[in-house]
Symmetry: C2
Subunit: 410 residues, 2 copies
């Protein structure tokens, strides 16, 4: 159990196990099948299902004939039985989403993170945005399980504090979990943004839970799902891949030779190289984050059109990302790379043409199996969606440790 949280669990272990089985049965499931799949007795399955029906977490959606015997009533998850809120605190844009119990986005809203706004004002704006999307969706606020907030690292997971993210100006040891919990009057979970992205992928994806999520945002980072569990690390800061040394080199790299992945592909630095190469133009010397986004989009458009100078920079980015991924794959032996984040998409077709071959052909790649590469299942709002999935995950996923804990509490 995460330290410092007090998220209400949905009933005991058996209840969560049964809810999980019903959730995964996309065509619905009968009580008999619930008993078969969980190994619980028919009586226990029936009793738990009755309670889930009473709590509005599942509903009966029809009957199915099973050969001999009377038709079986079919149970399905009641998507609007509960909701979860997700918040992504990005240096450029704030995003809030409302998810239902099935993991579908019911409503979302985003707005720029203004650099000269105080922490208190940002928390207020987040809370107001949540009030708005809850009001607009006309749901019962009593059905909201809680909120998850995805923030750039470093964070202090145990105490729910955002420490001093380099790109989040003016934030220094902000107890964001407590501030939001007080303001929203609900339990709040904190997660590092890239780890939240991995939670979103493992919650919504269908291809298994062992992967590295390469997140290309205002900064770069990775989220890991290993051996069916998201890796958080001892303080919630796993996935800081920006300091991995990569080759660099190419003609547009200002310092050929040694180079850190985060510096090499940072959108602001890429834009700087595109400006220096005459690929894009800018009005002044200092670009704010919206201008960086626009210039990056322009650069990506030139590259997609085949501009040779832009493509040299794309080749460098692909090579740097591939080198970083080889290090990640060597260290963790993952066999699947998932790409996402706002700065991934403008370059996606170009990078997907280049990165997989560069990784697979690297003489420094040790694990002896193919690596698959794909885009994230959730495109837009992936970190905010992941933060909300985190809440669903805490409430809905059966954790054997819960069983052991409840044993010792008996």
């Amino acid at each position: 159990m995460r330290a410092g949280t007090n998220l209400p669990a949905i009933g005991g272990y058996n209840q969560v196990v049964i809810l999980d089985v019903i959730r995964r049965a996309t065509d619905g499931i009968s009580r008999v099948e619930v008993a078969e799949r969980t190994g619980l007795s028919a009586q226990t399955a029936t009793n738990v299902c009755r309670r889930l029906l009473l709590d509005g977490l599942i509903h009966e959606t029809g009957t199915r004939s099973g050969g001999v015997g009377k038709p079986r009533r079919i149970l399905e998850l009641k998507a609007d039985g509960r909701f979860a809120i997700g918040i992504h605190l990005d240096p450029s844009v704030l995003t809030v989403v409302l998810l239902d119990l099935s993991g579908a986005v019911v409503s979302h809203k985003s707005f720029p993170t203004l650099a000269d706004t105080s922490v208190d004002e940002i928390v207020d704006r987040i809370a107001s945005a949540i009030d708005e999307i809850v009001a607009a969706s006309a749901i019962d606020p009593g059905r909201i399980l809680g909120a998850g907030v995805a923030a750039p690292g470093p964070i202090d997971l145990a105490s729910g504090i955002v420490l001093n993210p380099p790109l989040l100006v003016g934030w220094d040891r902000v107890p964001v979990r407590e501030m939001l919990s007080t303001r929203l009057k609900m339990p709040v979970l904190l997660e590092k943004d890239v780890t939240a992205a991995a939670v979103a992928e493992s919650w919504t994806g269908t291809k298994g839970n062992n992967f590295a999520f390469f997140y290309y945002g205002t900064g770069v980072g990775a989220g890991f799902s290993l051996q069916n569990d998201v890796l958080r690390g001892s303080s919630g800061n796993a996935g800081e891949v920006g300091n991995l040394v990569v080759g660099g080199g190419g003609p547009s790299h200002p310092v050929p030779g040694r180079w850190r992945l985060g510096d090499a592909v940072l959108p602001r630095n890429v834009v700087g190289r595109a400006l220096a190469g005459g690929v894009v133009q800018a009005s002044g010397d200092w670009l704010d984050s919206a201008e960086v986004q626009r210039a990056f989009d322009d650069f990506a458009a030139r590259a997609r059109e085949g501009d040779p100078t832009a493509l040299v920079i794309v080749d460098e980015i692909a090579s740097d990302i591939a080198e970083g991924l080889v290090s990640i794959i060597d260290v963790l032996d993952v066999d699947r790379i998932v790409f996402g984040g706002p700065f991934w998409y403008p370059l996606a077709p170009l990078l997907l043409e280049r990165v997989p071959a560069l990784v697979s052909r690297s003489r420094f790649l040790v694990p002896p199996h193919p690596i698959s590469f794909e885009e994230a299942t959730v495109g837009q709002d992936v970190a905010a969606t992941g933060a909300a999935c985190l809440v669903l995950d805490h409430a809905l996923t059966p954790r054997p440790s819960t069983l052991l804990i409840s044993h010792s509490d008996d």
Copy 2:
């Protein structure tokens, strides 16, 4: 459950849970306490303990008065109730160990891995060595649970094959698990050597199960224990940190600038630099692995005596290891580094003076918490011991997944 193994579990889930509780109670434990700590009913606890007594896995070692009521009989693990064999297939030295149920080494034997010996002969020599230590220890062979073999990567964990380790000459896709299982007539588990070292530390250490084990052997590698589980990766090859790019630089580095950790600190390369600097002497141009070991020991002795040229090389090794560890800590957010392996010990005092400060002061270290550094709990034979612990771990550690599997099998 590991694919392709058929290691016999010691009874069902409750039996393994109770055995685990008894194993961890170093002063012994009463049946009442067993029931309290497991949450099982007194009747179940008593029944399971009776079976464990009959199977010779535990024994009664006395009585303890618990205030009112009659004195309680004390149960303890019966160390000689079962045994496990561990094998370390190192490019330089073959090691076999016999562990008892408490994890103590009962007997061990090691001998050089001769480069011109065929795979079949090596397997025969391992099997003979095991026969010898089992015979010499006068134990009942029927009490041996199985054998674990630690081998250099890359391996194919699922099929129990050692693929083509760069330092193990002549080995190419060797089905070592099956060969040893046939020859030894017992179940065999395969694990990568550095992961086996991590298993040994997590099984014998007392400081928690979140750490990176930096193994300095004929090659270098890392084993990880994360979120209380050893990380194996999708094919059993996690921990290939030798290709991480580190700074290099120092005057004795032949290629200043870009440098891979494995090349930078490879004992053979270190010896090459020590020879070039006149720190040690060698008879010929090509050194076999025993000569590398001797020259490395000489170099380490010169450094410990304060030879300035030797200390320059030590500074370079410390700097390269520290850079590699910063990458590992950034990626995984571990807060503890464990050092071991045969080439660690000659330099241990010098490296422990240098590496922790270099890591902690690095401007590329992101996680905001102190890092502890220590030597492995098991010094000699750590990979062989870990391979044997793997067998104990499979037989003795309660895994909630076992519970879920048995549910679905009901």
